[in-house]
Symmetry: C2
Amino acid sequence: MPELPTDRIEQFLREHPGLPTPFLVIDLDVVAERYRMLCEALPRAAVYYAVKANPDPAVVRLLVDLRCDFDVASPAEVELCLDHGARADQLSYGNTVKKEADILRAAGRGVTTFALDCAQELHKLIRSAPGSVAMVRLAVDGAGADWPLSRKFGCGPQDALTLLRSAAAARHPVGIGFQVGSQQHDPDAWDAPLAQVAVLAEALAADGVRLTAVNLGGGLPSLHADPTPGLDRFLVGDAGLLRAEVVLTSRRDSDPGRRWVYLDVGMFSGLVETAEEAIRYRIRVPRRHGPTEPAVLAGPTCDSLDVLYERRPYPLPVDLRAGDRVDLLSTGAYTTSYSSVGFNGFEPLRAYHLPPSSPSPIGTGTIESLATSALTDGAAAPGS
Amino acid sequence: MPELPTDRIEQFLREHPGLPTPFLVIDLDVVAERYRMLCEALPRAAVYYAVKANPDPAVVRLLVDLRCDFDVASPAEVELCLDHGARADQLSYGNTVKKEADILRAAGRGVTTFALDCAQELHKLIRSAPGSVAMVRLAVDGAGADWPLSRKFGCGPQDALTLLRSAAAARHPVGIGFQVGSQQHDPDAWDAPLAQVAVLAEALAADGVRLTAVNLGGGLPSLHADPTPGLDRFLVGDAGLLRAEVVLTSRRDSDPGRRWVYLDVGMFSGLVETAEEAIRYRIRVPRRHGPTEPAVLAGPTCDSLDVLYERRPYPLPVDLRAGDRVDLLSTGAYTTSYSSVGFNGFEPLRAYHLPPSSPSPIGTGTIESLATSALTDGAAAPGS
């Protein structure tokens, strides 16, 4: 596995020293390599790329070429994948909250797998996508994840069994999915929901119903500042580097003893995952190598929400100055797609893609410690 | 003052029953009327519209026609105002965090007023906008506001005095600004910072320096669900209605006893101000008039952050169903501008503008209880 950021990204940065910031660079070779590694580590699973993580056409096209499957959340994401060469049977509509018109539209385009977690959604499926695979989503408590997903989605095992039986009775193939949370640090987090799946599968088998798929969700952590044990892989996250610029550093008597550093990127231009300081990106400052001291880190807008790290200030060089370039690492996922349309007049985050090396875009990386339960954030991996 | 939503908005909704949701409708007559009312209530003040609240060209053009001034936060907002007929001397660059290149660019376009709160920013002004009005921003604790703005911006009176003296010594006219927070409910909130301004003005007078402007900030609350005493006006907020659709209602055994209602609009398509449940929009359901019960309200994306009201569930009709239309009131400010570029493939919030009535776009509203300290969110009002 090449070191990150890759030589190709470093070269891009060297060759474009004056490129206006902020911008993201994605090395598509990393995406290809990670995909290959996942496939090798999970030979019985299909890898579904969660398009919302980075819906850039270059990423989608690469993954189509590599025969990846796709987890989509809306009609626009369905169209995006189909437009770039995916087949409809490679798509899983993973959003449990869908307008019936959108189900009908997706089914009309050939999509055959839909997630759900309640009876109302199942009724929509029965009416508008008859015969499709009904993937029932289990609620998981998300403990151990930086970003738990516990309340909004999923049902308990009791409801799940009722839904699975109703779906099967209406001649829908059935599957079960769950999501252990984004940036999951605990490799055992998959065990409890898998045990629930086993119990449900057994109950269904007694009715003569067989599960067609188990969606293991995403959640594999990217390489952020908090050390993650073992599962340090990611499909698109580690492929990206976000270059920003320091706009201002200040100390003010209204906040005594604290240094504030304002970047030209923030909550409204892609760094939404710093909300509640959950994701702590690694940051490097290319030209300042002296001692560091803590700084509160904030974005450039007039909005008080636009603060990245305040509760746990970030160690940054003492001599950091306005105009210095700053790199946020492993930022290829959940950044460009979160950008606002232009809050405060700041434009959405630009992205540059380093094209896959040809003829073989896939590197020679080998699997070292990737456990069989290791999946990737920005990817969902249904498998039997 | 006409009732809200206005008859024109109601008529638009009646005439377009099948318009795809979510969308925002803005009645520009309300904006014009509110502007006139503010001017009457604050005859010695100039009203500065904070463009970030709603940067739609239709809004900017109307306010240019009415001779409103503008608070801008970025080069793009400078250009937007100039492109729609504003003169550069009507603009105040209110963001205390600016790249020096952006100051230079704005100064080159004729902008002559810039906010700051620290020495580094003053040095940029001295170098790149010599002779411009230096508006020093005081930190205010924001108590009483739904959305305090206390930490990110502003300095204390000690730093302020040093900055004002340095700016005056460098031949910059000087002013002082502050911001009592968004949705400020306490009409006395302006008193303490104004007292600080008076002390600073006296100290400067002893040096022979006169304040050219005091920026009283915004913060006037819009008509949201929590009752606001007296200061119930707003420039663009109350002019807008956001129509959404129920995508799903569910009860799940993973969250026993609670009803979840999912709308087709959420945190990533314009409702960022519900973050931490700070702003509680009034909601009406046009066709359901029976009893209500609480519901957790969430947006349509696969993101667990996309929940609007969970700590304090919202009373909604018991018989609410997928497909029902739901209107969020007083949503004309800080909605479209916050939309993501398309997270989860959901497009940015669309907006429709009901054009100003001609020949006189301004209604016959009279001022009843608008105190002299009453300013508007989405507006900053410098005055002597």
